[in-house]
């Protein structure tokens, strides 16, 4: 029996700003611009919006209500994401429930930041009390050092190789070359990846994302209204979230996806092998393996071998991060966790241009974020589909 939590709800459009390596405008600009683009695509006026979900590290002192004031929206439902790179995925589930319960009819979900290397360091220096008090005083390498320890242990326990991880970065770069909005589009070979500068051994430069300014938005409404708009509705088949899973697994060799993925697939009446593409949260390639394992695409520890043995290209068996992901697009702060959502919606609405996955009908989007003491504490995923 399935719960069908998200029946009758659809995503109607997406909006994505340009990405800027050296942003000269504040987070607010990216959030407004992404919202404007998504609403224009759906031909919906700001006055018709009655729900708003926002995820942004650098929006304070502003918030959902003040952003609504900037954008001339009167809200019956408001949400401020506190799940970092999992926020936009969590927001999809929250918004769907709000629409079902009649709290709102048209909801904009927007995420973005005016991010840069300097902004990243400044944010991480006081990101949370445990990291500030018990990790930073030792001279950590930011998140690079933490995920380097995860990669080292995963390799030690399961034999994961740098070439397996590199395949993800290289294939995503090839995808990015077909994405005019990606910041990093120069060709990259496995040799380039393996030879890139060492940052926090074993994490090298091309394991890391480029902080940038950017914003992502989608519009959700009732399925009836979506159909009436003449646009291709994208439905939410299932989803799940987890915060602070397995607290004593400090480096997170297993994430909360393990806990909720079986129910998510059951609700969607799908199996991992029936998914047409996966948009993973790729702050580092090692995290993509943890997600593939947790989501059930392969056994625990087998992520590296799975990637090596699977055609993950645009025309392959399981296309991964079809727009290039954060590794090639850039990471727009909390907007980084929404890149996969935008990309999946574009693919399912046949708007992906040269990188369109042929006959794409289902997509899995995974989110991950809010690093605490030593690891990202929040994991989420949704299954999206056109019908």
């Amino acid at each position: 029996m399935t719960s069908r939590l998200f029946d009758g709800i659809a995503i109607i459009s997406s909006g994505q700003t340009a990405y800027h390596k050296h942003p000269e405008v504040p987070a607010m600009w990216y959030l407004v611009e992404a919202t404007r683009l998504a609403l224009a695509k759906a031909n919906i006026r700001n006055s018709e919006v009655d729900g708003l979900a926002v995820s942004s590290f650098m929006l304070p002192p502003d918030n959902t209500a003040t952003l609504a004031e900037h954008m001339g929206m009167t809200l019956g439902w408001a949400f401020l994401g506190t799940f970092g790179g999992a926020s936009q995925v969590v927001a999809i589930m929250r918004a769907a429930q709000a629409i079902r319960q009649g709290e709102a009819e048209v909801i904009v979900l927007v995420a973005g930041d005016s991010y840069s290397v300097a902004a990243h360091y400044s944010l991480m220096a006081d990101f949370n009390s445990a990291m500030r008090d018990y990790v930073a005083p030792y001279g950590m390498g930011g998140t690079n050092g933490l995920f380097a320890m995860l990669e080292r242990r995963h390799s030690y326990d399961f034999g994961t190789t740098k070439a397996q991880l590199g395949k993800l970065a290289v294939v995503q770069r090839a995808n990015a070359q077909r994405n005019p909005n990606a910041l990093l589009r120069r060709p990259m070979t496995l040799e380039d990846y393996l030879g890139s500068r060492m940052i926090c051994d074993p994490i090298r430069l091309y394991d890391c994302v480029l902080p940038c300014g950017g914003g992502e938005a989608i519009v959700m409404t009732t399925a009836d209204r979506a159909r009436a708009s003449g646009r291709q509705p994208v439905f939410v088949l299932g989803g799940g979230e987890s915060s602070n899973f397995a607290p004593d697994d400090l480096l997170m060799l297993q994430g909360g996806w393990t806990e909720f993925a079986p129910r998510m697939f059951e609700d969607a009446e799908l199996g991992p092998s029936e998914v047409d593409m996966v948009q993973l949260y790729d702050d580092y390639p090692i995290m993509e393996l943890i997600q593939l394992e947790g989501l059930g695409f392969c056994e625990r520890g087998a992520g590296g071998r799975y990637v090596a043995e699977t055609d993950i290209s645009l025309h392959g068996d399981l296309p991964i991060n079809t727009g290039g992901g954060q590794l090639s697009c850039g990471q727009s702060g909390a907007g980084g966790g929404a890149i996969g959502v935008t990309e999946a919606v574009m693919q399912l609405q046949s708007e992906a241009g040269d990188r369109q996955v042929p006959d794409a009908r289902t997509a899995l989007v995974s989110g991950f974020g809010m690093v605490g003491f030593t690891k990202g504490l929040c994991q989420a995923a949704v299954l999206l589909a056109r019908r």
């Binding site: 360091y121 445990a130 030792y138 001279g139 950590m140 390498g141 933490l146 926090c200 003491f373 030593t374």
Partner: protein, 140 residues
């Protein structure tokens, strides 16, 4: 005690429930909380036990012995005031008493570290209320 005196800007905020941890190092001791109710050893310092929410915990002096669970050799520290210490060997240490902490491995041979290597705590004084436990490789 390691008396290196480079100016460090990234300092922990000392408060009621973590002060004994940071102060213990001034006396070359590694002290962690143990829950009075469920008897679990706890890291990092907490207001209440994260396993059972009991507010009563007792500070216990540990051996300082452990082994390397994982590590990264950090060439690009986030805080540039650490640049004179690179490469910094950031590590998760499994203490023999059964809890893990995050720290660094020190010493000239630190880059030769591998997973499983035995280590022992040494203490690095930052000011009159804080000395951080760090670890030296134990020659076998």
């Amino acid at each position: 005690m390691d008396q290196s005196n480079s100016i460090q800007t990234a300092l922990p905020r000392v408060c009621d429930w973590n002060a004994p941890f940071f102060a213990a190092g001034l006396f070359d001791q590694l002290k962690l909380q143990r829950c009075d109710s469920c008897s679990r050893l706890i890291y990092y310092p907490r207001i209440a036990c994260p396993y059972c929410m009991c507010p009563d915990m007792t500070w216990e002096t540990l051996s300082g012995d452990g082994s390397v669970y994982s590590y990264s050799i950090v060439w690009r520290p986030q805080d540039r005031s650490f640049m004179d210490q690179v490469p910094i060997v950031l590590a998760v240490i499994s203490l023999v008493e059964g809890v893990q902490i995050v720290s660094t491995v020190l010493g000239e041979t630190r880059q030769n570290v591998t997973i499983g290597d035995p280590v022992r705590a040494v203490f690095h004084k930052l000011n009159n209320s804080i000395a951080l436990p760090k670890f030296q490789l134990v020659k076998s």
